[in-house]
């Protein structure tokens, strides 16, 4: 089973490394990774972050899909890191009001505005 993932962030490498290591941005699951490598992305596209989570036990395809294995969580974190760094926020939709989240993938809300109680759940006044 593949245990590596990567994402490209549209920012210079020193800035990406600094934010990655700051307490505000640091991804929790990726911290447990075996190796995190930062590289200048080709074509002036910013910085590649490569994460190798190493051996993660006998997690099967199903677990990978449903998100109990750490790799999907690391993928979520990488995307949320990219979103925060590039846009300053985690984009939310009506179907995925928490933003990119593996547990949400197969349990989407209907794409219609949230009820008050749901707004409170996802921490919107």
């Amino acid at each position: 089973m593949t245990s590596k993932t990567a994402i490209t962030v549209n920012r210079p490498r020193d800035e990406v490394e600094r934010l990655w290591n700051s307490s505000e941005y640091r991804p929790r699951h990726a911290e447990a990774a075996e190796a995190v490598v930062f590289k200048d992305a080709p074509g002036d596209r910013g910085t590649e972050i490569h994460v190798d989570i190493g051996k993660s036990g006998p997690a099967g395809k199903l677990q990978e899909l449903f998100g109990s294995a750490p790799l999907p969580k690391v993928k979520d974190e990488l995307r949320r890191f990219k979103q925060l760094v590039e846009t300053g926020e985690i984009p939310r939709s009506d179907g995925s009001p928490e933003g990119e989240k593996v547990e949400r993938k197969l349990k989407q809300r209907p794409a219609q505005p949230l009820e008050q109680s749901e707004l409170e759940e996802v921490a919107v006044r």
Partner: protein, 152 residues
Amino acid sequence: MRATVWSGRNTVQVENVPDPKILNDRDAIVRITSTAICGSDLHLYDGYVPTMRKGDILGHEFMGEVVETGPGVENLKQGDRVVVPFPIACGSCWSCEHELYSLCENSNPNAGLAEKMFGHTTCGIFGYSHLTGGYAGGQAEYARVPFPTWAH
């Protein structure tokens, strides 16, 4: 508010749903004055697009008047009349910087799902299945518009 809701193959009806709220700082709420039914809405109607859910609000071509803006919206104010483009684009990723707005790398919160199915994701799109984000569409009285930078 009232909105056009997909409730299964060949079934679309106007229903009462909650009003949209600002969820992020860079969101705007638009009161819709005109909206369109696109030829591509027929693919949703006919049930050919995967990841539709009962209750999804349709509509990706709409215009209206800004009624509320989040604190991070700088280019629009209450009362502005806007045409809302259907690709939701953050404006700060590599694709957006190169005017490839339909490839925005940040606006689809279900990007992981799209990557699994297609190898790459599109931007978020209003009212066009959960593969393009699961955003409520514009065949409604109001819509929440994230990153309204490109509405004009």
